[in-house]
Amino acid sequence: MEYVTPEGLRIDGRRPKELRRLDCSLDVLQSADGSAVFQMGNTKVLAAVFGPHEVEVRNQMKEDKAIIKCEYAMAAFSTGERRKRGKSDRRSQELSLVIKAALEQTVMVELLPRTQIDVYVQVLQADGGTRVAAINAAVLALASAGVPLRDLAAGCAAGYLEGHSLLDLNFQEDSAGGPDCSIALHPNSDRLVLLQMDSRLPMDTFEAVLNLAQDGCRAVASFMRQRLLEHTRKLAMARGAVRA
């Protein structure tokens, strides 16, 4: 199968260094303190944040910082072939930990000692890049819940197929077996808070892929920032704090 045509087009018609269409909406759920839907092409992820609130299990309480709980679940209809996967399957649990680790570096946990923040991520449609989309959705939900953040963490994946570095792999490209590098970046402080690549790859290729993924992250971050600003402006206008 050909992943990049001689004209330089990918299966879904994108150029190698092109992101899929991004979309997001904030505060979509009633009972959550903050929530967001983040969409990258056909990948669609919902995140909900509850808290900061009292720690439920007393001995998990940290005197000097907040603890973050994270749960990643996939809807049964989210994948191409229907599959009922519980929240407790191994892939979901691994992803919960990965997302939690990235969020712990993003939230200013030291400002909220003795509290707990629950982050729930629900994948509605899966088409590659669910872990980075999950991080993006979770960060937007945290921001809309008013949790203090060090920086916006924006995630993006990049891979390498047939001699091309490709940005933001979809499911078909993801399952082609090439290297896949998922990262999340703090764009202002320029720090990586998630880095996963599980493949053998020459150093210089890795560098090219990593740089591409970082550029992707910056683009995603500026999109997220713009949407957050628009949302906040709308809220401020509704309260009469700002005039149109």
Binding site: Q30, A47, A73, F77, D118
Partner: protein, 294 residues
């Protein structure tokens, strides 16, 4: 979600005076907002907000083997998952039991008890491809994103909407040519490309599916479509399944104090009337809604 005793008192008293906290009359439903075809990868999908209750349903159609009891009927399997996004109490295996209970009711509502005889729900006979060998398997997966009361009613409404939006491919099958004599030639199934751009044919019998309406009995007042708080005030909640002709197809009682059998018939009639009214407006909407392919 639990409420304080003061809240429950306040709500009970207002219901007695025929006033509901959200300004509805006793027989009103909450405002209903429906979105069709939002999950591109499913054969049919819908999302419904009824007040603050929010449920997404995705329907997936797959080819599978029929059950031995009904060799010429398709199959339908419903699941309901309480998403943790609704509330932290559903974390882990928190909402599992309730989900199972809801799924059972949903499945009973969507398909007739004896699919080979038809009637009273989706026509599973029309989902047979090769009798005894291959049938369409419909998976109806509901995801509850917020529980503001009346989840069962919403699950059925939204499953109905998703099924009305579902298209299954037209199948052509050929007996495998050149197979040796005596061998049972394996039929090959081909999914026909859709030519009309409709994405396949719609399901039959969607109009026959009954809707479940909940009625809460708060002291001597009866409220249709109770919210979470009203469910907690109610002495009993009746779930009444009614079809488009206003016939009662099923009933289930839940609550804390039981229901008076003398009042039952009046309650059921009220539920059936409300159910057929909502069904009529839903089906009118499905007809004029743009038909999305899959």
């Amino acid at each position: 979600m639990s409420h304080s005793s003061a809240e429950i008192d306040f709500c009970t008293q207002s219901c007695q005076h025929g006033i509901r906290l959200d300004g509805r009359a006793c027989e009103d439903f909450r405002p209903l907002e429906l979105e069709l075809g939002l999950i591109a990868q499913a054969s049919g999908s819908a999302r419904l907000h009824l007040g603050s209750t929010d449920v997404i349903v995705g329907v997936k159609a797959e080819v599978g083997a029929p059950l031995r009891e009904h060799p010429d009927c398709g199959r339908l399997q419903a699941t309901v998952e309480m998403s943790s996004c609704a509330s932290p109490e559903y974390e882990g295996r928190g909402g599992e039991l309730w989900g199972l209970q809801l799924a059972q009711a949903l499945e009973a509502s969507l398909v007739p008890e004896h699919p080979e005889k038809g009637g009273g729900g989706l026509d599973l006979r029309s989902l047979s491809i090769i009798p005894g060998k291959a049938v369409w398997l419909l998976y109806v997966d509901a995801l509850v994103l917020n529980d503001g009361g009346g989840v069962l009613c919403v699950c059925v409404c939204v499953a109905l909407a998703a099924l009305s939006n579902t298209r299954v491919c037209v199948c052509v099958f050929t007996m495998g040519g050149g197979a040796g004599e005596g061998d049972a030639a394996e039929p090959e199934i081909e999914l026909e490309d859709d030519e009309e751009g409709e994405g396949g044919r719609p399901l039959q019998g969607v109009a026959e599916v009954p809707l479940i309406v909940s009625l809460g009995q708060v002291d001597n007042a009866v409220v249709v479509d109770p919210t979470c708080l009203e469910e907690q005030c109610a002495a009993s909640v009746m779930h009444i399944a009614a079809n488009a002709r206003g016939e009662v197809c099923g009933v289930q009682q839940s609550g804390r104090q039981g229901v008076d059998p003398a009042a039952l018939v009046a309650l059921m009639e009220r539920g059936a009337a409300a159910g057929s009214e909502v069904l009529a407006s839903l089906h009118a909407y499905f007809k004029q809604a743009p038909q999305q392919g899959t």
